[in-house]
Symmetry: C2
Amino acid sequence: MARLKGFEKLTTVDNALSIFLDALKPKRLQAESVPLADAVERATADNIVAPMDLPRFDRSAVDGYAIRADDAFEATQFKPRTLKLTREEIVRKGYAKEVWTGNPVPEGATAVVMLEHTRKLKNGVEIVMPVTPGENISRKGEDIRKGEVAIEAGTRVNTYHLGLLAALGVSEVGVVRKPRVAIISTGNELVELGKVTSPGQIINSNRFLVSGLCRELGAEPEYLGIARDDEEDIRMKIVEGLAKADAVITTGGTSVGTADLVPLVISELGKPGIVVHGVAMRPGMPTALGILKRKPVFVLSGYPVAAAFGFEVFARPVILRLLGVQNEPRPWIEGRLTRRVAGALGRRVYLRVKAVEQKGELHAEPILAKGSGLLSSLTKANGYVIIPENREGLEEGETVTVHLFSPIARKED
Amino acid sequence: MARLKGFEKLTTVDNALSIFLDALKPKRLQAESVPLADAVERATADNIVAPMDLPRFDRSAVDGYAIRADDAFEATQFKPRTLKLTREEIVRKGYAKEVWTGNPVPEGATAVVMLEHTRKLKNGVEIVMPVTPGENISRKGEDIRKGEVAIEAGTRVNTYHLGLLAALGVSEVGVVRKPRVAIISTGNELVELGKVTSPGQIINSNRFLVSGLCRELGAEPEYLGIARDDEEDIRMKIVEGLAKADAVITTGGTSVGTADLVPLVISELGKPGIVVHGVAMRPGMPTALGILKRKPVFVLSGYPVAAAFGFEVFARPVILRLLGVQNEPRPWIEGRLTRRVAGALGRRVYLRVKAVEQKGELHAEPILAKGSGLLSSLTKANGYVIIPENREGLEEGETVTVHLFSPIARKED
């Protein structure tokens, strides 16, 4: 009947994560090559080296005239220098050549005079301002040099990277393949969205929640369906998940009741099985972490909010490691807490808050919600605040760090 | 020759945007219905009202026993209350019914005692702690009530919303259709990625940049190809874009040189044509804003960085309005500038910076780059700082607001 008892001992969040990572030693997945336009949001597998100089040639940064800088020496509005126009590929002393922004700077020219500092004549041009050598010229390789690292390994490719890679002529990008994550919902009470529910049944929302969290990180969720509270059913689905995917996530069936079958099945399936069960966090206390066939198995609560934070704290860092991305914290801001909130001594509390800007000040409004089952506490929030294990609570007006999952709201003054 | 002169007069950023929005009066696009899983990142068209209570029934928040609260009155470890177990659907005085987390609370029961506060007997259970009425029960409608607004109109749907909507049995979501944006690159010097380039040619990177920026916002870019510096070619592509899309974006051909054909063609195509040409911003000064057939036409610089900021400042707010999303600032943080930077009196400068956290402090490191053509200034940055028109520069150590487009970097101590 030990399984009917409460958790004997909870592991702290930090210990749980380090025990798990030490046992798992997650390795970056293999690389694959994708067309440039598909590389956005993917993680680069290796350093991407510039295959050419950018700009590829000295080019004019302005519309104007390419000249020899000394030909404009001491030129002024009142004492302009007059130069002849040339259409040749070379600019000789006493000549100027019309160039537009982006045009190659012709041989011989050492600067470009802006159009605004010239007056056109019938067969020449007056220069009314001096220029220094190199002025208004973007030098070959000034943006990036051939052989220089354009994008480091483990970088999440963004839109600006696409632009740079295109300019460098890179049409295929080596990225880490998407981690596949098998998702299993468990629970006799669950029905799928769209099916008729009878009293006492609950629509399976965790499937959408966990799949969405995987996709946000650039992983590929594969939903394996609902396992009933039955050892054989759960076992088959976990085995299927381990065969198909790089990680398995289950929701439900992790509490300490008789329905607590998932951790049991995992430990029976192989070594090391469950390495952490019960974490000193709220929500998410019944989270369990397992390893089978060297793959992570995240056993999350059936309560959506607890599942979301179990994912945030444990699955997120592991998936990032599978992607080779080590440094991707959520954006955070500092704000003042608008009211006192209770913590839970000995547990790390993930307080949902709404970060709001008002008159240039940032406030964090706690979303008050009793249970970890209240999905609306997540949809009303745009981030969370951590209440440390050693704090009884946080004070009104205290400055807190808000980890954002959605943009900050702006309140009208 | 007026077109060969510099801009007579630059419009301030704020004026340019308000002139443009006043003339355009952008309207939210029509709604469409999509399956729940496809709704993520889309903007809700109308308020989504909860079609049922959530929870749909009073349910147990813990594993334990449903009882009448008064049956546990003054129960202690030393003076436990003993109750008989029932398997009926109703809990009578003197009885307890086993329930697991999420189970409906049976009729008659007014509280649930946690398993940890009970001792199982052969045909009964000892309660060793009192409970208050309602304890450990999630009330029907506690998360959200039938008829309450679950998600407001104009909300960007996130993963947590998916979870809530699934739990509410919402399988189809009304979202605003994706704005279609026609993208036209202009310039005789451009070649497409993958084609052989000859000296003086430039690979068309803006196509990837602008398409990517559209996709980030949830718009659907359609690339119409490269228009040569030729009025007829540009005209045909713009007409095609206006026929196909809700907005048109061109890059290149906006400077004041002879190649300055795009604004000319737009104003010849109809009224009002170009409403702003030349903005007091850096980069992005030659940006022009036009309206044809009541659709916005953004004429961006051919320089990638200038195009990116022209998009940020003008196209982004308009696309958000087409989506009905009014309040979606980029995440921002405050940090200390690590060195002095020059501004440009009378112009708003968009300084690319790298926001870095070191020992709990946020620093903004300016990315120094001469020209707006340097793509690497965007890829090395994770955000930007605005230097106002009335500032000659920003001081080292000054606290600045960084508008983030990528996560903050964490430096090892």
